[in-house]
Symmetry: C2
Subunit: 169 residues, 2 copies
């Protein structure tokens, strides 16, 4: 029971976009380059985040991806759900209604007790992910990233944002 | 990100075993029959639960599976972990250490902030599953199962336990 790696990529992209200067954006291939992940696969994650209203993209010389909302209005849960979907981790196949004890489906409570307990656990997981925003994660990067990594990241971002050509968007 | 169906089977088996009369046990093929699930696949779940110390099995005329501990000492988390393992749902591939901002691995905090937030969510999920015991789930069945399903289940169990032959163990 594992999240796809697209979740990690999407979360890191959201955090990087939250750290961009106001009005700046980054094209998909630059997001892939910064995170050293495969561009075509990352593009799928970015499309999923676009559909979820987490990021938005524009064309043209200064086009690219940016957050669709302020980072403090985007939860980590939204990023996870954008990539993984929002299905229950536990699939109930109504085993209780099968076998020699089975009676008419109408006679059972709406939800099996096992599915209910699993649902409570997933809700606790969701609640915790909902509490963390992209802005929280970005603040964590500013607080925790090694000084030298921060300098290198800023240098790279500045050069990319300043030298962008139409073909890069 | 979904649990395997073996988790559902394992949880239902644990609950049924918790409801057996004292000293009784059920062979694997009877557990499969009661839940209407494929015997060979269920056997793998039962073996995993045996390795996890949730159930124990014995050979002979009255042999079969029974809970290895009282149901109030077995959490739903243990059942899930027995089948799914206990790896993090979120795999951190240390993206923060890649790309143009990368510096020496030693310079980074031990854990990426995104992995930390994901870990908190998984811990909330685990805590909730740990709170629910197999005995709780069994009590839920006694409270919620349709009267007629309960009667049919008891009739089946009584006949199976009373008529068991050595070949059934």
């Amino acid at each position: 029971m594992k999240m796809s790696e697209g979740v990690e990529w999407a979360a890191h992209c959201a955090v990087l976009l939250a750290l961009l200067p106001a009005g700046a954006s980054l094209p998909a291939h630059r997001l892939a380059e910064y995170h050293d992940v495969p561009g075509p696969y990352l593009a799928k994650s970015l499309q999923a985040m676009t559909r979820a209203g987490i990021v938005t993209s524009s064309a043209g010389r200064h086009g690219g991806y940016r957050l669709a909302r302020p980072g403090n209005k985007i939860s980590l849960l939204e990023v996870v759900v954008a990539i993984e979907g929002d299905d229950p981790m536990f699939r109930c196949s109504e085993i209780r209604r099968r076998g020699p004890s089975a009676v008419s489906a109408r006679a059972y409570t709406p939800r099996c007790g096992i599915a209910t307990a699993m649902g409570r656990a997933q809700e606790a997981w969701r609640t915790e992910l909902e509490r963390t925003t992209v802005a929280d994660l970005a603040a964590g990067v500013l607080a925790d990233a090694p000084r030298k990594a921060m300098d290198k990241g800023v240098t790279w971002l500045t050069s990319v944002i300043e030298t962008r050509s139409p073909s890069a968007s």
